[in-house]
């Protein structure tokens, strides 16, 4: 199943990456963090603060690259990522804890 999670993608920023979650594949852009794009794709994901300090949206980053435009306050364990503030920078595979 492939879902294009983003609409109105700016033509000057054509970076689209695949996010693998189990058997699901979601296309995301670099325009905004992963969390809202997953939500639009119908993926339920825990969240609270949505600004990188509460850790609630921590998920497994199995492989691939994400970046944080602003370093979040929450502790990020190795092999994990914060969905609310991470920008996906390559194809990635994620999982839930």
């Amino acid at each position: 199943m492939t879902i294009l999670a983003t609409s109105n993608k700016a033509p000057e920023d054509p970076q689209v990456h695949r996010v693998l979650l189990g058997k699901q594949q979601i296309l995301v852009s670099e325009d905004e963090p992963l969390l809202p794009q997953l939500e639009r794709a119908g993926v339920t994901i825990e969240y609270q603060c949505r600004e990188g300090y509460c850790s609630s949206c921590a998920i497994k980053l199995l492989w691939g690259k994400v970046e944080y435009p602003v370093e979040p306050l929450a502790w990020i364990h190795s092999g994990a990522m914060l969905a609310c503030c991470a920008i996906v920078k390559s194809d990635i595979e994620i999982g839930f804890f």
Partner: protein, 378 residues
């Protein structure tokens, strides 16, 4: 040994551990061993709020219209939260300030504890506004068995640490005879172990224990009842999410050996104890949910759903400190709560949106010629 309010020794605080090193002397933040604590201070200050800003006049009318069993749910939660913040408004200061060794962490502890005193004052604000005699509500906190059980759990690790630190500061290391207590062994190992368990217990307090109460407050507000209260609870929840970040950082820094190498060994040694602290607290919260709903549930919530939520949030919090989830519950049974727990749509007065990124008197110093282009040729 004995605590000094201004340590005269010259030492490099960047080489000190978070706790049990030198007493802090100069409150300086130009250099920091763990800059996260300074960032937490800044964030907490940007969250500043006052309970009196929230109008509760409609809550009084709503409260009178609630069913008796719903009034029991509402007041019991307020009593429990009052207990939790009574503890949190003083204990980080009393227990941790005598042993802290980093200026940025010392100030975070004080900032953190101060914000808890705002929560305590907000409970008085709420109770004063909705009942005629607040004394009845507050007096019951000490005599109510269900609350007393929880008071023991939330204070015992603090009290153990405080006792050991008092002995350490007056008598030093060794085995000391304490009247009515017997012999107490004070070693760096027992002190650090008591500290680690205290931090874990505080993390559980702020990351799990508040949430049954939060869920009930927001469930009332989903029915457009007690909305002033829900506004206050939103502000409290925002603060608590920041506080749990602080204890998560302390636990992770200790456990991963990024602070005091001995603490990493102690964290490993205490792993089962910490798992038990989480699991026991979850069980107590589930029992609390049963007590709340003993005379009847409320729309959208019952003891079973709240129990599942407690298990779910416990899993989330355990994973954040590097522990395995202990419960089967994989999904949030009340996903609507998250919309209430989001930070940035907290609005106090109708005319004033409390956006966390908004700072009074904020100035942008990074200007160049291009910023004036819009002015045209004047």
């Amino acid at each position: 040994m004995s605590y000094s309010t201004f340590n005269r020794k010259k030492f490099d605080s960047l080489q000190e551990p978070m706790f049990f090193g030198e007493n802090v002397n100069v409150a300086r933040y130009d250099q920091q061993k763990h800059p996260i604590f300074e960032k937490l201070i800044e964030k907490q200050l940007s969250f500043f709020w006052r309970p009196e800003e929230v109008d509760l006049s409609n809550d009084r009318k709503d409260f009178l219209k609630l069913e008796v069993h719903e009034q029991h749910i509402f007041l019991s939660n307020l009593k429990y939260q009052t207990l939790l913040d009574s503890v949190q408004g003083r204990s980080p200061n009393v227990a941790l300030l005598p042993i802290v060794s980093l200026p940025e962490l010392e100030t975070w502890i004080e900032t953190w504890s101060f914000s808890e005193t705002i929560h305590s004052r907000s409970y008085t604000h709420i109770i004063r506004n909705i009942v005629n005699d607040p004394t009845k509500v507050f007096d019951d906190i000490i005599v109510n068995d269900e609350i007393a059980k929880r008071a023991i759990s939330v204070s015992k690790y603090y009290d153990d640490l405080i006792e050991l630190v008092n002995l350490y500061n007056t008598l030093g290391l060794g085995v000391h005879h304490v009247p009515e207590r017997g012999d107490v062994t004070v070693s760096m190992h027992s002190l650090k172990k008591a500290l680690y368990l205290t931090v874990a217990s505080v993390n559980v307090l702020e990351a799990i224990r508040f949430y049954v109460s939060f869920a009930c407050s927001f469930a009332f507000a989903e029915r457009t009842l007690m909305e002033g209260n829900a506004k206050i609870i939103k502000l409290i929840a925002r603060d608590e999410a920041l506080h749990l970040n602080g204890t998560q950082h302390m636990m992770n820094l200790m456990a991963l050996g990024r602070d005091d190498p001995e603490m990493a060994k102690i964290a490993e040694e205490c792993k089962d104890d910490v798992i038990n602290i989480f699991v026991e607290a979850a069980q107590q919260e589930k029992d609390w949910a049963k007590y709340l709903f003993k005379d009847g549930s409320m729309i959208g919530l019952n003891a079973q759903i709240l129990g599942q939520y407690v298990e779910y949030i416990t899993n989330v919090r355990m994973q954040a400190v590097g522990l395995e989830a202990q419960f089967e519950t994989k999904n949030n049974p009340i996903p609507w709560i998250n919309a209430w727990l989001v930070s940035d749509n907290v609005q106090v007065a109708p005319q004033e949106a409390e956006i966390t990124s908004y700072l009074v008197g904020q100035i942008d110093n990074d200007l160049d010629g291009a910023d004036f282009d819009d002015f045209g040729d004047l």
